[in-house]
Symmetry: C2
Subunit: 265 residues, 2 copies
């Protein structure tokens, strides 16, 4: 069995040191093979301006967060996924990173930006991709509002993802329920790591909805956190189950697709 | 406002006269602009063999069901959608038909066949399409198991459907909940007309799950029937609301799609 976990907490805005400490402290207690953290959990979420965001962004190549968490992954022999503000030349992406115990890293740049993120971040410019996590488990990353677009998880699942890692900073009421259908329609595990707490910055503020969840390939909730608590949850899963797309004796969630009739341009 | 209705009942296997009478009796009491009936509600569902099915199938051109219901539509000034076994040369399709008060008809042939339907019916061979119902309301049809494939409703919605008419004979537990997400992700109204009752034929049998529902463009349940009752429900909707794909001040369910990153072949 494969131990997957998520960490739900309230990052402090622009306090990377504190947030990294919290990520390691909670992650250490998970004792898991794969740990998923929330979106932008190293920096917090509510930025007033691009300048303010740019100052706390980090390029992947010399990111303190990535190097510290890579050390954590090597020490604890686990893979992690977390969200961070990724600087690339003069752009900032709302990204997530998969870091493996061997130090390999893979980055996903959020493709569907939400609300004021459009004023602050560049939209993702790279394809959805599937990567090997610890023990070769095939992981796909999506971030928060990507849930609204069924094409996101569908693309990852068709590319072979067994476990969808889904860092989030949710403020709308629908995602947790939508993800049960996303997991079901694609027959994959999903881990939505949402944050909690209220964050206020100048005239802007958001309250995040918690209820982070780990779902099985039928969209059933294996573990779920509360709306406001900080902590972690763990589930033991068999990732191989995600390779079985059987719906009935006669039906398969993938091979019964009929793309010649889908007009999705 | 536009009055939409659905009829939930237990068709009698191979008793077309009885079923047509029931459809008209219940439909008459709806006093609606658009009425949706279950899948295969003129013939019943559990067929043992292709021969048995073929004998009760009807070609659209000389279908008693279509001509009787066209008369009903003209009399009552309403559009209807219902499921029937459509004969075409030596093939039988699991089809639905939209009939308008002016006598115009449009047919959809189920694209994703469920379970033993694969042994009995030919899979749909025509594109998903959107048609005008009474007052020009733009209607898209899908049937039962099409719910499993997000591409089905997505295609109809992208083609401009405002109201999804969804005849069903449901036996799995997920559809009603999945449709709340389908309506939400596409910001369209949906009408799932499921049947009730148990049907046994030789060694085959199915129990159908009822809970037919009318959903708004946020996926909220406007009206829903019970698991076993026969009857109808009505909702007054403004179909124009389905043309508004706004999610937030900055987000739109359709224009924020990024098809260049969707790999759905």
């Amino acid at each position: 069995m494969y131990r997957v976990a998520l960490v739900q907490f309230a990052p402090r805005l622009k306090d990377i040191d504190h947030n990294l400490e919290r990520m390691q402290e909670l992650g250490d207690r998970c004792n898991a093979d794969l740990i998923v953290y929330p979106e932008l959990c190293t920096t917090g979420y509510v930025f007033v301006s691009s300048d303010e965001l740019y100052r706390v962004s980090e390029s992947a190549a010399d990111s303190l967060c990535i190097s510290e968490m890579a050390e954590f992954c090597a020490d604890k022999d686990c893979s992690v996924v977390f969200g961070f503000a990724e600087r690339s030349a003069d752009q900032v992406f709302n990204s997530s990173v998969l870091i493996n115990p061997d130090g390999s890293i893979h980055i996903y740049r959020k493709i569907h930006l939400f609300s004021r993120e459009k004023l602050l971040f560049s939209p993702g410019d790279q394809p959805f991709a599937v990567h090997a996590a610890k023990h070769g488990v095939r992981v796909g990353m999506m971030i928060c509002f990507d849930w609204q677009y069924p094409e996101a998880m569908r693309t990852l699942a068709l590319k072979g993802a067994q476990v969808i890692c889904h860092p989030a900073n949710l403020v709308l009421p629908w995602c947790q329920r939508a993800m049960t259908i996303r997991s079901l329609e694609n027959r994959v595990f999903s881990i939505t790591a949402n944050r909690v707490g209220k964050e206020i910055n100048g005239k802007f503020g958001e309250t995040f909805t918690g209820k982070s969840q780990i779902l099985n390939t039928r969209g059933e909730i294996l573990q779920q956190m509360g709306e406001t608590e900080e902590g972690f949850i763990i589930a033991e899963i068999d990732p191989i189950l995600a390779d079985d797309k059987t719906v009935t004796e006669y039906n398969n969630a993938f091979s019964d697709r009929r793309p010649q009739f889908y007009e999705l341009g």
